[in-house]
């Protein structure tokens, strides 16, 4: 029999016992739906995790410091500079880093402890510069208000805990003005005596919290100072108190972590460009002054953003070659894929169980159909149908139930996934958290689920089909 005739007959047969076949097909659909829902959750969570991780900037960033800042990383390798001093992380270095292949952005970590005034009340806080790319990190998702309007805007975003210190109704802060008071660093000519005006109360206050990111930093600075003892000190700097009005444009829940440079206790965020222009006194200024380098401002650290996690290794090697210490996280996305592969297999096994159970339904339906259609099988054989034709007919029927069930199951599974996401987002919304999409049905999952359903159905059809084919036509025709 030709495929088209076979299919027509099979569809006719399926339509005939509509209720029974629909229920069987529904059984397959439920099986496939459970499989698809399970796997879509696995895939969705994996996508969510990798997206979050890549957006977090943790895996496409290299954290660059002068050698010696990290005991573990710096000490293990010989210093490249002939003088024994590590290469300074200054503007030249920043330019060089930006020119490395694969580097998309280089920005310093600008943060300083200072005082802000809101409606005349002073608050001691930590100000951090945020690059415009920080928006893409996802850290500002779901914030109250808006992100900075431009890189040079005199605007501020408050961390919610700090905002709550000002007023419990944090949303009322958006649009208000904030007065930033800070100490500007002004370089003194090299020959002038380093007056170390850093002894002013402001700068003392500056140093204390800034040292916190690693007790090491201050320790290193102190050690460096001791090493340099006796050598002629270069220029110095003076501290000039300044103030600047900023408009509060938003309040953010989470702590932005744009690369390692961003990890830490920022309470007031301002555009990085604005922060740099302030030339506010930072922790490393003191060390630089002691080391006699204050003529040329240097950076405590620079964050190098790379075009994708895979390029981190090469860029990191190139930066080390330049004589800096680097730090980056390994490409964790690889491990995450592995973890999720195991997770998906487990989910897939649980999901498949329902499909296996529904395949028993197919076997049952088709065996019942043989009893039902005994006479018809006999007639077909008497009219010239070969055993193979009968077998194929049952196969096609099993396959058709599998295909329809698979199709329906993918739709059900997708709907279950949507419902899951919806329910989760209702919950997240109640917790005032931004919504997320936890399930995903990519085309390969849909196609694979349908193919799997057809395969399982065909296997389920093996026994009924061969039994139908072996039916003795003489007995079958006698059957009433």
């Amino acid at each position: 029999m030709k495929v088209r005739d076979m299919t027509e007959l099979a569809v006719r047969n399926l339509r005939e016992s509509m209720l029974r076949n629909s229920l069987t097909t529904l059984g397959v659909a439920v099986g496939v739906a459970s499989l698809v829902a399970m796997l879509s959750l696995g895939v969705g969570l994996q996508e969510l995790a990798s997206k979050r991780l890549s957006r977090s900037g943790l895996f496409d960033a290299v954290f660059v410091t002068t050698q010696g800042n990290f005991r573990e990383f710096g000490r293990s390798r010989p210093r490249t500079a002939a003088s024994g001093d590590p290469r300074v992380l200054d503007d030249d270095a920043r330019r060089d880093l930006a020119h490395l292949p694969g580097v998309t952005e280089v920005y310093p970590d600008v943060r300083f402890s200072t005082e802000v005034r809101y409606q005349g009340t002073p608050y001691a806080t930590m100000v951090a510069g945020v690059p415009m790319s920080g928006l893409a990190s996802g850290a500002f998702d779901g914030m109250q208000g808006k992100f900075f309007s431009s890189a040079g805007a005199d605007e501020a975003i408050l961390q919610i805990e700090f905002a709550r210190e000002i007023t419990p109704q944090t949303e009322t802060l958006v649009g208000k003005d904030l007065e930033l008071r800070y100490a500007e660093r002004q370089a003194l000519p090299a020959e002038s005596d380093p007056s170390l005006s850093a002894g002013t109360p402001e700068s003392k206050k500056t140093e204390k919290p800034a040292a916190a990111p690693g007790g090491r930093t201050s320790g290193e600075a102190a050690a460096g100072a001791r090493e340099d003892e006796g050598s002629a000190l270069g220029g110095g700097f003076s501290i000039v108190p300044r103030q600047k009005m900023l408009r509060i444009v938003g309040v953010v829940d989470s702590e932005p972590a744009a690369g390692f440079g961003g990890i830490g206790r920022g309470r007031v965020f301002i555009p990085l460009q604005v922060a740099e222009a302030l030339r506010a006194t930072q922790a490393n200024d003191l060390r630089d002054a002691l080391r006699g380098r204050s003529g040329k401002p240097s950076y405590l650290s620079l964050t190098v953003r790379v075009d994708g996690p895979s390029k981190v290794k090469d860029v990191e090697a190139a930066i080390k070659e330049m004589g800096f210490a680097t730090f980056s996280l390994l490409d964790a996305t690889k491990n995450i894929r592995l973890v999720f592969a195991v997770f998906d297999v487990l989910l897939g096994i649980f999901g498949s169980l329902a499909l296996v159970v529904s395949s028993l339904g197919i076997i049952n339906t088709l065996v019942m159909a043989i009893l039902d259609r005994r006479r018809e099988i006999g007639v077909l054989k008497a009219l010239g149908a070969a055993d193979g034709d009968i077998q194929k007919l049952f196969f096609v029927e099993a396959g058709a139930m599998g295909f329809l069930g698979g199709l329906l199951g993918v739709v059900f599974g997708w709907l279950i996934g949507r419902a899951l996401t919806f329910a989760l987002n209702v919950y997240l919304h109640k917790q005032e958290l931004p919504g997320i999409d936890v399930t995903s049905v990519p085309w390969w999952l849909a196609a694979g689920a349908i193919a799997f359903a057809v395969l399982v159905s065909l296997i389920a059809g093996l026994y009924p089909a061969s039994r139908a084919a072996k039916l003795n036509p003489v007995e079958a025709l006698r059957y009433e």
Binding site: L383, G384, A385
Partner: protein, 215 residues
Amino acid sequence: MGTTQVRAVDEVTLSANAGEILAILGASGSGKSTLLNLMAGLDRPTSGAIFAQGKNLATMNSQELARHRSSTVGMVFQSFQLLPRMTLEENVELPLRLAEVERAERNQRVREALDRVHLTARLTHRPTEMSGGEQQRAALARALVNRPMILLADEPTGNLDSVTGEEIMHLLKEINETLGMTIIIVTHERPMAERFAHRLALMGDGKLMSDGQTR
């Protein structure tokens, strides 16, 4: 059942000549239907040989037997055996589907077969909506549609009243005369067989009792 062998057909030597109507007579259980099923290739003999157009059915594989049923013989049954879910037209078309006849040709072949049995109305009706006579004529058309050489009829009038049965027998005679088709009829109605068949074979207990011309 068990290991007891029942010899339904035993030591029967019978041949039908091309173009004749052969009636196989016998009481129920005499083995006449089994003999017909063997000729149709629906059953296999445990020993012996059955030749149709020079080929031995006993040595054919199931595929070859299927081809024999499809193209060499056409079958008509006592209980019509039309598929209840198909229309009259679809029932008649079924052997064409199984024989993989081109779709374009099928319609014409179906009309031709239905013309032969004088059934041209109610083509889209289902078997349950038709009378017994109409159903048997449809079954006859289905047996003819693949243009077989031999028509095998198992009690074709058994489920019909005498008038309708007579009509069917006239139709068989007509087909035999116009197409020159060999027709083998299994029946227990001796008077009817004597009137329409060229030759009578009498079966009893699986054995051939007599074989001879009717007139």
